[in-house]
């Protein structure tokens, strides 16, 4: 039902629905994700290492390169080492959509329109939008424009937040975010412009300090993660290599870099936005449930 509404929303706006593979060679490089790994075997015995996708992102971007302008997909994605239940399930449904020639501001507008089509009671409310920098000024009193490692550490200490000696700037930022910011995100709010050490695959803002990335929180639940996509293949390779190194350091499988993606990336227009939205979490919001296992017919806890 909900997926039918999502499909008609996008087809009315000129998007093309695409299907992307689930078993791939390069499932994703994010240092904190653990893909399900497998072996793909040919009849003659030739074996290939493979894994289940953690997101359809790479395949989607490969379709943008050859010229598809507006695409969306609804697919199952898989993440190992996840908590059973609560906000997580190892297998879940994801909606991803991309549009060339538009940036993340346009994407936030479209996300808000999509949700209002699905949840008509909130049609007349305006979603809030806040920069991460403004949230830090308001709730913690530090300016991320020039906060260095020491300032972030001092802020943690003065709020009694637990830290460790080898915390990176990104770790300290996230400790503050989890403790002082996230619990204060009430209602429907877009949080955007994350510091560049949390930029992920997003383009940097014109001052070079933030990534053009946003998340939508609805009643405290993080629903999606969207970017103005990075289309610079050299920078992308650098970030992949850094992530591969982080995976190696933490003893995780280092999956091969997706060379096909890197070769197609330069033909993606700038700007292009992309957004990944958790469909099960959207279900939770639409039905007022607080646990993901209440919206999944066969949650992991009933299967394993």
């Amino acid at each position: 039902m909900m997926n039918d509404s999502i499909r008609s929303f996008f087809s009315l706006r000129g998007y093309l629905e695409v299907e992307t593979p689930i078993v791939v060679r390069s499932p994703g490089m994010e240092p904190n994700l653990s893909p399900f790994e497998t072996i793909v075997r040919e009849p003659n015995g030739t074996e290939h290492r493979g894994a289940l996708i953690t997101s359809p992102e790479y395949s989607m971007k490969k379709l943008l390169g050859p010229g598809l302008e507006k695409i969306f997909t609804i697919t199952k994605v898989f993440r190992n080492d996840e908590t059973f239940g609560g906000n997580h399930n190892p297998e879940f449904s994801m909606l991803e959509w991309y549009q060339q020639g538009a940036d993340y501001q346009k994407c936030m507008e479209e996300t808000e329109e999509l949700i209002k089509v699905l949840k008509s009671e909130i049609r007349n409310t305006k979603f809030e939008k806040k920069r991460v920098r403004d949230l830090f000024l308001e709730h913690i009193g530090i300016d991320l424009d020039n906060a260095d490692q020491t300032e972030l550490l001092n802020a943690c200490n003065s709020h009694g937040i637990h830290t460790t000696g080898n915390d990176t700037k990104s770790d300290l930022f996230y400790r503050l975010f989890l403790t002082k910011i996230e619990p204060n995100l009430s209602g429907n709010i877009f949080v955007y412009d994350y510091p560049k050490y949390q930029a992920s695959l997003s383009r940097l803002t014109s001052d070079g300090k933030y990534g053009e990335r946003f998340e939508l929180y609805m009643n405290g639940l993080e629903l999606c993660n969207g970017f103005t996509e990075l289309t610079d293949a050299t920078e992308q390779r650098k970030r992949f290599e850094e992530e591969a190194e982080e995976r190696k350091q933490s003893g995780k499988t280092v999956h091969p870099i997706d060379e096909e993606l890197l070769s197609l990336l330069p033909s993606v227009r700038t700007p292009t936005f992309g957004n990944a939205l958790g469909i099960d979490r959207l279900h939770m919001i639409l039905t007022g449930k607080t646990k993901i296992e209440d919206v999944i017919l066969f949650p992991a806890s009933s299967l394993f």
Partner: protein, 187 residues
């Protein structure tokens, strides 16, 4: 040394020589960077509850604690005494170490005493405990229409709670010992 990824409900973590009992945990992954485990922990000595977030890569010291099923006997205002029904062994816990559990105690209540290196540190109560209602005003006609009306009731251990208006004197009810709220009537 243990990893925050091994945290479960009931794990006892030693942080700067203070023991914290984990009451809630959830893994969180930011869009970029390390993943974290978000926890709510209760200080075993003081009962203070706080949220602490651990990076998955941190190493933690878990304390080896045993939970012994014991029955609450009596208190002298300072020490609260429990007994193991199998061995008749008795242990006493200082009032300050179990402050938040005291309102829910009643004679004969079975609880889990947290034992660490032979010492009784604290006690965790069952999440729901049954009591009988010794006093409550009868419901006023018309109040039940909205279905949400609560009234005060006094229970057999002296605890006062808010209950739905259909509860009458002599009813047996379950109370959530984490929140102090009424959960259901027992028939």
């Amino acid at each position: 040394m243990s990893s925050p990824n091994d945290i479960k409900k009931g794990t006892v973590v030693n942080i700067n020589n203070e023991l914290w009992l984990v009451t809630y945990f959830q893994r969180v992954s930011p869009g970029k960077g390390s993943s974290f485990v978000r926890t709510k922990m209760k200080n075993i000595k003081t009962g203070k509850v706080q949220e602490t977030n651990f990076k998955s890569a941190e190493s933690l010291t878990f304390e080896d604690v045993q939970y012994k099923k014991m029955q609450y006997l009596f208190n002298d205002g300072i020490l609260y005494t429990f007994m193991d029904n199998m061995t008749y062994e008795q242990v006493s816990i200082a009032k300050a170490d179990m402050e938040d559990s005291i309102p829910y105690l009643k004679e004969g209540l079975e609880a889990n005493v947290v034992m660490h290196e032979g010492l009784a540190l604290s006690v965790t109560l069952p999440q729901k405990v049954e009591y009988s209602v010794v006093y409550t005003e009868p419901a006023v006609k018309g109040d039940t229409a909205s279905g949400n009306v609560l009234k005060e009731a006094e229970l057999d251990n002296g605890l006062k709670v808010r209950v739905p208006s259909f509860i009458t004197q002599g009813d047996h009810i379950l109370i959530n010992t984490d929140t102090g709220e009424y959960t259901e009537r027992v028939n």
